[in-house]
């Protein structure tokens, strides 16, 4: 009962395009800070953008807007997710399948991940939620 009273947003990141990562993180963080429960699942190529080395070097795939965001040095998706986590109910998960395929460990990812999980766990979290796929 109680679970249904808080609207839940599930955001699935598939792409490593900076614009998609940014848009999903922006919506999710503001939603969490506005009282929604937000669960983010990062899988496939999107995981690559969350690797520590890529975040440190700002090594991202961009289009026109993404390039200008880097140019203007605006806070990027890791900053947005951090804000959401600090000021709301936002959890970030990595996909165990893609991690296994690539041989990546949770420690290779930026320190914002709550856990690395499989599809069944995520489906449980996403049940009854609004789902956004980026």
């Amino acid at each position: 009962m109680e679970q249904q009273q808080v609207p839940t947003l599930a955001i699935i990141f598939l792409s490593k395009d900076l614009e998609k990562l940014h848009a999903g993180s922006l919506v999710g963080s503001v939603a969490a800070m506005s009282g929604m429960k937000v669960r983010m699942f990062v899988t496939m190529n999107a995981l690559e953008a969350f690797l520590k080395e890529n975040v440190e070097k700002q090594n991202f795939q961009t289009g026109t807007v993404g390039a200008e965001m880097l140019n203007k040095n605006i806070p990027l998706f890791p900053d947005l997710i951090k804000e959401g986590k600090e000021n709301g109910d936002l959890h970030l998960y990595g996909c165990s399948m893609a991690m296994d395929v690539m041989g990546w460990k949770q420690g290779d990812l930026i320190d914002l991940f709550d856990d690395v999980i499989g599809v069944s766990s995520f489906l449980g979290m996403a049940q009854g939620a609004q789902v956004i796929t980026m």
């Binding site: 503001v30 506005s34 947005l80």
Partner: protein, 79 residues
């Protein structure tokens, strides 16, 4: 505009959406009910979006006005 007792003013000029909104959310969270928080923003999107957020969250928009090259937006925490 009558005198408003602004409890806290946040200068978020130069920050793009959702920066000013996020700063406001944090300030409202730590404020007491009835407090007025003001945000200065040079971001056009925020001037439209912050009032929407205020409405959605059930707070009160005290003012949202242009002041030269930026906007002044004030919100009273209602709950």
């Amino acid at each position: 505009m009558s005198e408003v007792d602004v409890k806290k003013s946040i200068d978020a000029r130069g920050s793009f959406c959702p920066g000013p909104l996020m700063e406001l959310i944090k300030a409202v969270k730590h404020a007491q009910v009835g407090d007025v928080i003001e945000v200065l923003s040079s971001d056009t999107g925020s001037a439209k979006d912050i009032p929407e957020w205020v409405k959605k969250m059930g707070h009160e928009l005290v003012y949202c006005q242009e002041a030269g090259d930026h906007w002044k937006i004030a919100v009273r925490k209602a709950r």
